[in-house]
């Protein structure tokens, strides 16, 4: 059902650079109506930049954009919407206290619409695309996947024929992803052009018609999904053959190091952070933590590290309760936390400081006297650069100037060098390319072999299943159960992430 013979979008020679970094270089790409194109590439390969150019957030340095065969210039998001391009961002842009209906019409031009007429229109549209939407429901009452539906509805209401979805699956459970894909297929049948940005291979294979692979800002290839496979796509994405297997070394003589008993934590705004959590963490194991974003992962990390107060319950470290101890005392016990938040630098590193100063962050107090001796930390920084092959102009370069992968190596490297007994690591591979991710997994496994107890909070279920020994699943701050990573399935974890409790399932007992 093509509306005309032209391509929906045709990009010719698009180039965009930020300073010395070339984000997009001479990109040629086209997409037809009634087609789903996956844009595949590692973080930093220029996917989001390209889509931001299309949606009017950035302006290309060079190149031309054709929509429906006509050359256009998109200088702001409004013009993109006028051209029928709708972008669904990774982070939702919704007004929490408004109903879904209000959010959908918000910002559109035109006269006041009667709410009953509007409701009907919204319902009509949602039937057409198979979107489940309750017009009067407030955003704050919605699950992540419902919010995403509203976002999709929002751009459809504005008459978008071309939809761009930036990493739409990263916040969804496997079941919700399946639902989203059904919606996307329906929209495709209606003749829309859809671009989906992702770095998850199996999703690409499941949903797309064609795949454009970006590497270092260039389109390296465009392949038909049917004629491709996971291995080929990886090779195109990374640029060389790669072994995707993550090892899971066996360790012996595991004993409980950390025991969490009836732990409940309240957030600052009074909402439940954690609700009655019980688990044991043993030496020489990696305990994975799964859950959709915001299910209590941050609260769990911060409570163990002493940054958040517990409401009830205890965290026993070798039978000693560490609740109520200061972060300083907990660090001295050998419990190390490295939390990599979305902005990467977050609280583990000081961006404006160089590696030498960052090495000091947790150890500067050990210096005798008032003056800090920086020689040992300089030596440590140089060793880390060597050992983890960190790419940096030198130990005196501010860490914020390093790439994401190198920043994470600095952070994790420092934590490991402090020889902890318990290592809490949250999203250590967030934003990393495949190669760096595997270096991090190896680092964690090495620590596991040294009998360190590791709590690994992850995002990618495939990784969690391969790397962890056991996986505990959180949902809305509650523990849904702990399963054996070797025996469980993705579907089972997905159901638990969505809130199904597995009574009595604790592979530990």
């Amino acid at each position: 059902m093509k509306t005309n013979d032209y391509y929906a979008i045709e990009l010719k020679g698009i180039t965009k650079s930020f300073g010395k970094v070339i984000a997009n270089e001479d990109i040629n790409l086209e997409i037809k109506y009634g087609e789903i194109l996956a844009l595949l590439g590692e973080n930093g390969s220029g996917k989001t930049t390209l889509m931001n150019i299309l949606s009017g957030i950035y302006y290309a340095d060079e190149g031309t954009i054709f929509i429906d065969g006509k050359e256009v210039s998109i200088t702001n998001p409004h013009e993109a919407i006028d051209l029928g391009i709708g972008m669904i961002h990774q982070h939702f842009k919704l007004v929490e206290v408004f109903s879904s209906m209000d959010n959908i019409v918000l910002g559109t031009k035109g006269k006041y619409v009667k709410s009953s007429a509007l409701k009907e229109e919204v319902l009509n549209m949602s039937n057409k695309f198979g979107l489940e939407i309750v017009p009067d429901k407030k955003i704050y009452d919605m699950s992540v996947s419902e919010k995403q539906t509203v976002e999709i509805m929002k751009v459809l209401y504005r008459g978008a024929k071309i939809l761009i979805l930036d990493e739409p699956t990263s916040v969804l459970t496997p079941q919700e992803i399946e639902k989203l894909f059904i919606i996307l297929r329906k929209m495709k049948e209606q003749g829309n052009a859809i671009i989906i940005i992702t770095h998850k291979l199996h999703e690409v294979l499941a949903i797309s018609d064609r795949v454009a692979i970006l590497r270092k800002g260039k389109v390296v290839d465009t392949v038909n999904t049917k004629e491709s496979n996971e291995k080929q796509l990886t090779e195109l994405m990374v640029g060389r053959p790669i072994n995707l297997k993550i090892s899971r070394p066996e360790t012996k003589k595991r004993k409980t190091v950390l025991k969490v008993v009836d732990l409940s934590v309240a957030n600052e705004d009074g909402t439940i952070g954690l609700n009655n959590i019980n688990f044991k963490l043993k030496s020489g194991e990696i305990l994975g933590v799964a859950g959709v974003a915001g299910s209590g992962q941050r609260e769990l990390c911060e409570t163990i590290a002493g940054l958040m107060d517990a409401k009830t319950g205890a965290v026993l470290y070798n039978k000693e309760n560490i609740i109520g101890k200061t972060p300083d005392e907990i660090i001295n016990l050998g419990i190390s936390m490295s939390f990599v938040p979305e902005d990467r630098l977050g609280m583990g590193l000081v961006g404006s400081m160089d590696m030498v100063d960052n090495m000091l962050l947790k150890s500067y107090k050990k210096n005798k006297g008032a003056i800090i001796d920086k020689k040992p930390s300089r030596k440590l920084a140089e060793e880390l650069i060597d050992k983890l092959s960190i790419t940096t102009p030198g130990v005196e370069t501010p860490v914020r100037m390093l790439s994401g992968g190198n920043v994470q190596k600095v952070l994790l490297g420092r934590e490991i060098e402090s020889e902890p007994n318990v290592l809490i690591t949250a999203y250590p591979v967030r934003g990393l390319d495949i190669n760096s991710s595997y270096i991090i997994y190896d680092l964690l496994n090495e620590q596991k072999k040294k009998n360190v107890a590791i709590l690994f909070i992850g995002e990618d279920l495939d990784v969690l299943l391969e790397l962890s020994d056991r996986i505990m699943v959180l949902c809305h701050g509650e523990l849904m159960g702990i399963v054996d990573a070797k025996k469980t399935t993705k579907e089972e974890i997905g159901l638990m992430m969505a809130g199904r409790k597995m009574e009595g399932v604790d592979s530990d007992e």
Partner: protein
């Protein structure tokens, strides 16, 4: 569909990182341009800018006395700039140097006025300590409320300035009024015993100021405390994560920041004014904010910038007598320099490019 094909002609593009050499070049260029802009302003007023700039320079250096006066201008500016720089390094917006200078001066003056029979050096040491403690406590007040209730330190420190100023007025009109002034409200002149001695013709405040430059430099750069200040300034959550006691760092740093400003007040009263006047701070606490930022919070940079500002101040007063120009002309020039230096930050981070049309 729409056919708008307007293309922006000039766009700004972010630069990832300039080398420190380029950065320095841009800043020097900004300074030169600022002087040029000031020159145009002089031309508009009908003066020869070269002559005027010459007068400013010679006014500050032409004689030993002129140079001594320049240094005298510099001492309070340098010291209070060091004081506020400590707080700024922690991203604590201490706009209250004025008040801290005043309270330091008031505390020191108490001993100068009522215990001037003590041995000279003991008296000076006590006055010095009183100034530091007074300023420090005045700085501690906003820090306490900041760490306890997360109040806004900018407004808090600013408002404390006015309270401090009125404390002097109260003392001048009431308890500390000079009985020999035949009804005119003023505070008595300090006895010679309570005045700071001169070294090379200028009260020895300049030695203290130079020592402070070195101490503050080492403190910020090489000590645990300085390290904590940097981390807290960058991110409080990182500091907590590293096991730092953020509240204590804030309180401690503000005592020191206020303390240095308090010492400034003591030195200004006992070395320059020889009495406690309501003009003891005289806006120096505000100029210090400009100086410390122009110097990027580097103590040696502060030394340089405060010296340049003092030349401008002293030179302008000569210009006033020679050409009848208002001394506020110096403020105008300072404003222009500040404008250009801050403006050049944009060019350190961005550049302009012309749009090229592509589409091969």
């Amino acid at each position: 569909m729409n056919n708008r094909s307007h293309t922006p002609f000039i766009r700004t593009v972010k630069i990832s990182e300039r080398s420190s050499k380029d950065t320095l070049k841009i800043r020097i260029a900004a300074f030169v341009l600022a002087l040029a802009a000031g020159g145009i302003f002089m031309l508009l007023l009908g003066y020869n800018p070269f002559e005027l700039y010459g007068t400013i320079i010679s006014g500050a250096f032409r004689s030993k006395m002129a140079f001594q006066a320049t240094v005298k201008f510099m001492i309070p500016l340098l010291m209070s700039s060091l004081g506020v720089a400590m707080a700024f390094k922690m991203r604590f917006w201490n706009i209250g140097a004025e008040g801290q200078i005043i309270v330091g001066a008031v505390c020191a003056s108490y001993f100068a006025l009522f215990h001037n029979n003590w041995p000279h050096f003991l008296l000076l040491i006590v006055m010095f300590a009183a100034g530091a403690i007074g300023g420090g406590l005045w700085g501690l007040i906003p820090a306490y409320f900041k760490s306890k209730y997360d109040t806004n330190e900018t407004l808090f420190t600013l408002m404390l300035n006015y309270i401090a100023l009125h404390i002097i007025t109260y003392l001048r009109d009431g308890p500390w009024k000079d009985p020999d002034s035949s009804g005119f409200p003023k505070i008595a002149r300090f006895a010679a015993n309570a005045q700071i001695d001169k070294v090379f013709g200028v009260h020895f405040g300049w030695i203290i100021a130079l020592i402070l430059v070195i101490i503050v430099f080492i403190y910020l750069k090489y000590t645990k405390h300085g390290y904590e200040i940097s981390v807290v300034g960058e991110s409080k959550s990182t500091a907590k994560y590293a096991g730092m006691d953020v509240k204590r760092v804030i309180l401690r740093t503000m005592i020191l920041s206020g303390g240095i400003c308090g010492i400034t007040g003591m030195i200004q009263a006992a070395g320059s004014d020889m009495t406690l006047a309501s003009s003891v701070a005289g806006g120096v606490g505000f100029t210090a904010i400009i100086v410390s930022w122009l110097a990027y919070l580097n103590p040696f940079g502060i030394l340089l910038v405060s010296f340049l500002f003092s030349i401008l101040d002293k030179g302008s007063s000569v210009m006033q007598s020679a050409y009848g120009l208002s001394t506020y002309f110096a403020s105008v020039l300072q404003g222009i320099i500040l404008f250009f230096i801050l403006g050049c930050e944009f060019f350190i981070r961005y550049k302009f490019v012309l749009t090229k049309k592509g589409g091969k």
